[in-house]
């Protein structure tokens, strides 16, 4: 399962004024793995992936992607190296059509109108949004906007796909679809998944990293994490 390390962080730290959101995180993600990142609200999950993909500048530490130090690279340059990030709070282009949203994500990689159209159609089909591609994205329901985010991530054919709470606000059926989709991508794409839905985490993740107060509390297989007493106390509750 685990190949060469695709992404690693060394001593990654982020301080916001007095608050240390992420502290000294060493994190290795082997290529091909589905890794879940869990932790209570405010544990620093979104800040951590924000630093990885370049939305947030770290206060200290290094990030290595595919053997190269990318700490100094701006976000768009990191994305170009094969990362894709789907936003926790959906961030589609509300006044553009569904098709155009995905096409914008596709055009950086794919040239030519016909090829872009094909890739867009395939991505929408894959997430289950093939109807009404000409609808303005802002008119979609919340769940459908999340699926659109996912299509925008997929169409970039990333090597590392960062999914920030992809199932939040989705119906049961949509959660199943997202799970099946991640299952399909397993092996082709390395996935870093921030997720609150423990059922999704337990079913999908190869390994789980637990953050608490900005530090790595535990790391292991879903079963190990489930059995870990410290994690139980911090996050999963006593049940």
């Amino acid at each position: 399962m685990s190949g060469a390390v695709l992404l690693s962080t060394h001593g990654l730290t982020k301080r916001f004024d007095g608050l240390t959101a992420v502290e000294d995180v060493d994190f290795d993600l082997p290529a091909g793995e589905v890794r879940a990142l869990i932790g209570p609200n405010g544990a620093g999950k979104t800040t951590l992936v924000g630093m990885i993909c370049g939305r947030i500048a770290p206060s200290a530490g290094r990030i290595v992607f595919d053997g190269q130090d990318i700490t100094a690279l701006p976000a768009h340059a990191r994305i170009r190296r094969g990362m894709a990030y789907t936003f926790q709070i959906t961030s589609v282009f509300p006044r553009l059509s569904v098709r155009e949203n995905v096409a914008l994500a596709a055009r950086r990689r794919i040239k030519g109108r016909a090829a872009v159209d094909r890739a867009v159609g395939a991505a929408l089909e894959r997430v289950g949004l093939p109807e009404r591609p000409d609808e303005e994205a802002g008119n979609l329901s919340y769940g459908h906007q999340r699926l659109l985010e996912l299509a925008m991530g997929l169409v970039q054919a990333p090597r590392l796909l960062i999914l920030d709470e992809p199932t939040q606000g989705l119906s049961e059926g949509e959660v199943e679809r997202v799970k099946a989709l991640i299952e399909e991508l397993r092996g082709d794409t390395t996935i870093l998944l921030i997720e609150h839905n423990m059922r999704v985490v337990m079913d999908l993740a190869d390994r789980v990293t637990v953050l608490n107060f900005g530090r790595v509390l535990a790391e292991g297989t879903p079963a190990e994490i489930h059995a870990d007493a410290a994690v139980q106390a911090a996050y999963l509750g006593t049940g």
């Binding site: 993909c53 939305r55 701006p74 976000a75 768009h76 340059a77 994305i79 170009r80 990030y85 936003f87 961030s91 589609v92 282009f93 509300p94 006044r95 553009l96 155009e100 096409a103 914008l104 994500a105 055009r107 950086r108 925008m152 970039q156």
Partner: protein, 315 residues
């Protein structure tokens, strides 16, 4: 898609054909007005690239218009060159000035961007006044008919002037239509809608905004150079803040972010003032009331309203 494309070309091409046909039928007064409107509409097209499509509100486009005008006029007056290289000099001046201003102003956003562009345009205006020995300041200077002969064509002749203005307008309109349908233009629209998301799709937003500002400034400069050449005059008024506000008004009225909007807005505003000043000396009052009504009932401008109500695919 291709049916839509045909409709788009039929509409925009149809306007150009109509304008050419009007050349033969319009009475002299309106013929002259329309030539002027087409040049000013080209300026508005340039402005619309940055404001309507990229979402950056500049208050300093008079700097680019004037860079084109003076780049052209000074090289004829003092460089002794013919109109063709003078036009190129004007366009090049616009490209350089807009590129330089973009590098500075794009470090800011929102209101700060408006203020920085406004201040630099004012500095440009004052520079023209400062070098009054050459530019003749507010008074300006006239280019003689003999200096305005392009490839043997006398541009001071109204018929030639109309056709030249139409060619400029056609090139700007088609360039704008092509740009906003091309991948580069689609990214500009996306920046207007959600810049952070564009960055997180792997596009360099700064480079795209820089490109938009240079294209916008260069088209504005081409319009400024053509205006000076066709109407035979260059003056500091064209660098004043008024000429930064005009394209904003024209584009807002016509429909920001539409290809036809700049022309419709310029035409509307020109004739609104022209007609109301024929009726009363308080013509600005009539113009003001019409503008307020339009803002209330067509907040997205005339072409914007057309897009909302009739044809969603209008580029």
């Amino acid at each position: 898609m291709s049916a839509d494309t045909r409709r788009i070309f039929a509409l925009h091409g149809g306007l150009l054909v109509l304008l050419f046909a009007l050349h033969f039928v319009l009475p002299a007064y309106h013929h002259g007005n329309l030539a002027r409107i087409m040049v000013l509409a080209s300026y508005a097209i340039g402005y619309n690239i940055l404001f309507g499509y990229t979402g950056l509100l500049s208050l300093g486009h008079a700097l680019f218009f004037a860079a084109g005008m003076y780049g052209m006029a000074l090289s004829i007056q003092y460089g002794g060159v013919t109109p063709a290289p003078a036009l190129l000099a004007g366009i090049a001046a616009g490209a350089v000035v807009s590129g330089a201003l973009a590098l500075l102003a794009l470090r800011t956003t929102g209101v700060a961007f408006m203020i920085v562009t406004l201040m630099f345009a004012q500095a440009g205006y004052l520079t023209i006044l400062y070098f009054g020995d050459y530019t003749r300041g507010d008074e300006g200077f006239v280019l003689q008919a003999a200096q305005r002969t392009l490839w043997g064509i006398d541009l001071s002749d109204p018929a030639n002037r109309y056709v030249a203005a139409l060619i400029l307008f056609a090139v700007c309109l088609m360039a704008s239509l092509w740009l906003v349908r091309a991948p580069f233009g689609r990214v500009l629209v996306a920046i207007r809608e959600n810049e952070e998301r564009v960055t997180m799709l792997g596009y360099n937003a700064f480079a795209h905004k820089l490109g938009a500002m240079v294209v916008s400034g260069t088209i504005s400069a081409a319009a400024g150079a053509a205006y000076g050449l066709l109407f035979g005059y260059a003056g500091a008024t064209f660098a004043s803040v008024q000429y930064s506000i005009f394209p904003l008004l024209w584009v807002l009225l016509g429909g920001a972010g539409t290809v036809l909007g700049p022309f419709i807005g310029t035409l509307f505003m020109f004739y609104l003032i022209d007609l109301s000043s024929g009726l009363t000396t308080a013509y600005m009052l009539i113009a003001g009331v019409a503008l307020v009504a339009l803002t209330l009932f067509a907040p997205q401008g005339l072409a914007g309203e057309l897009r909302r109500r009739v044809w969603k695919g209008l580029p």
